[in-house]
């Protein structure tokens, strides 16, 4: 009990030490580019009260939700097919590998030209960022299926659809959730990429506006909010995964 309290206490001490260091450094520098923790808190309360913080948050997350709603099911379906049918995997492989390795940001200007400067281009970018990770993880999960069970299911007359539903999807579930976790992180990156580079709106637009007005405090508030959102969403994924696995008896 005491050892546990001491371990938590150490983390609290480290956090407090970091805050004090931040305060002392920024106070001694007295540079508006490096705001003190108090200035950052003031920026937070100001942007919270005038509604600009939440407006940017809502704007970005609308596009993020739409992108996830298209990219995640798309990635799962393609990943299941690629994991089960070797030929589909081989057809998709060159494109998927390219999408994983190359900087997708280079494609953003092309997508803007195709879809325009509205929400659809932001959604398209997010889909492009989310889909490959979900696909690859789902494919890997499907391949973990027990071959003996699979043969048995087919030999007992199980249709392809029922094999997918009763054997492959449960087997692949942890991998799908891993893909979802990575995909959410990538989706947030895609959302920020497009807003920082070409469509100045939402959270990225908020940061660029703060840059234009030399408001370092506002910028730090938004960076922290983006980080917090990423941590919360991925933690929710982990929680959901644990609950479902527990219910499945895994």
């Amino acid at each position: 009990m005491i050892a546990r309290a001491w371990r938590y206490g150490q983390h609290v001490l480290v956090f407090a030490g970091l805050m004090v260091t931040w305060h002392l450094l920024t106070t001694s520098m007295n540079d508006p580019m490096f705001p003190t923790p108090e200035r950052v808190w003031q920026s937070f309360t100001r942007t919270w009260n005038d509604g600009s913080l939440m407006e940017a948050f809502r704007d970005s997350n609308g596009a993020l939700l739409a992108g996830l709603a298209l990219g995640v099911p798309g990635g799962i379906v393609l990943g299941m097919l690629a994991g089960y049918f070797r030929i589909i995997d081989r057809i998709l492989a060159p494109y998927v590998n390219m999408m994983l390795v190359v900087p997708m940001v280079a494609l953003v200007p092309i997508l803007i030209i195709v879809f325009g400067l509205g929400t659809s281009s932001r959604v398209a970018v997010i889909v492009l960022f989310v889909l490959p990770d979900v696909l690859v993880n789902t494919r890997g999960g499907v391949r973990l299926a027990d071959r003996q069970l699979l043969m048995m299911a087919r030999s007992y007359g199980g249709s392809t659809l029922s094999v997918f539903r009763t054997l492959l999807l449960p087997t692949a579930f942890p991998s799908v959730m891993t893909g979802l976790r990575i995909g959410i992180g990538r989706g947030i990156t895609g959302m920020i990429v497009v807003e920082l580079t070409l469509v100045a709106s939402g959270m990225g637009g908020f940061i660029m506006e703060a840059l234009g007005r030399f408001r370092a405090g506002h910028m730090i508030v938004m960076i922290l909010l983006i980080g917090l959102e990423a941590v919360v969403l991925t933690s929710l994924c982990v929680l959901a995964e644990r609950r479902v696995l527990k219910r499945m008896g895994a």
Partner: protein, 282 residues
């Protein structure tokens, strides 16, 4: 194999690799590697069909946003002659600077975390949080501090690569065989010598995997930084062609970036494959 009903049962899932054949270090069993072997006929046909479909659809429907592939290749040739390689080399320069700096910092951090586990335990939440934040969100802050300078771009590549290298390298060393480390310690080896002679060689495959992932992230960081900061290199080309609606040149620049990224990735993968040969052949 015939099932009860007479239907052919075909198991299409990839089975485990044949005995004696292991997948490359750290890769999941299903991972297909780009540079690890020659591409199959289906993959080549798939790529060929894709390029043919691109060329034909661009010519048939005359879409404003989709130039024919042949025009894009011609444009790529033109912009290479006009000095696009200079832009690519500028991107490569900041990539290298950022990678070298991040590697040096990651080596120091990993050494510290491995030799003093308490520091690792206390710093771990901050490292995982730093990895959760999209590095791009921080780029404007670098611009605020340094302006659209070399420092801002190098710092972006550093941010893309440092945390992933430090976290993966520390985990690789922590997972090196404990019995070997204990034995070396019991024979009087110091923590530093055990790290140097036992832990690092045993963790080499995972360390190289960390390097490969960091290289991919570093390339992405370099292109991202240039696109956001947008005054030099590939980012400047992409921005200027996009703003001028020069579609063929825009596609050509994207193709050049794709080609450069793929070549770098294949080279680092070949290097990893060669260095970890001992692990596959014993």
């Amino acid at each position: 194999m015939k099932a009860d009903g007479g239907a052919t049962v075909e198991v299409r899932l990839d089975g485990p690799p044949p005995e004696g054949v292991t997948t490359p270090a750290g890769a999941p069993p299903s991972a297909r590697r780009i540079g690890g072997g020659s591409a199959g006929v289906v993959e080549i046909l798939s790529l060929g069909t894709g390029t043919l479909a691109w060329e034909l659809s661009a010519r048939l429907w005359d879409l404003a946003w989709l130039p024919p592939l042949s025009s894009v290749v011609a444009a790529a040739d033109d912009i290479v002659r006009d000095g696009a390689l200079g832009a690519l080399s500028s991107t490569a320069y900041i990539f290298l600077l950022g990678m070298v700096t991040a590697m040096a910092c990651a080596v120091v951090t990993t050494g510290l975390f491995t030799l003093v586990p308490a520091v690792h335990r206390l710093a771990r939440p901050y490292f995982y949080m730093a990895m959760a934040v999209p590095p791009l969100a921080v780029v404007p802050f670098f611009m605020l501090i340094w302006g659209p300078s070399l420092s801002a771009r190098v710092a972006t590549v550093w941010l893309f690569t440092y945390f992933v290298m430090a976290v993966m390298a520390t985990e690789a060393l922590e997972h090196s065989p404990r019995d070997l480390r204990d034995m070396a310690l019991s024979y009087g080896g110091s923590r530093l010598s055990v790290l140097r002679t036992v832990a690092i060689p045993a963790a080499t495959p995972r360390l190289l995997e960390a390097l490969r992932i960091a290289v991919v992230r570093g390339i992405k960081g370099a292109v991202n930084a240039e696109l956001i900061i947008g005054v030099v290199g590939v980012g400047r080309l992409l921005r200027s062609y996009s703003a001028g609606y020069r579609i063929e040149e825009l596609y050509a620049t994207v193709l050049l970036v794709l080609a450069a990224s793929l070549i770098t990735y294949i080279l680092i993968e070949r290097f990893e494959y060669r260095v970890t040969r001992w692990e596959r052949h014993g």
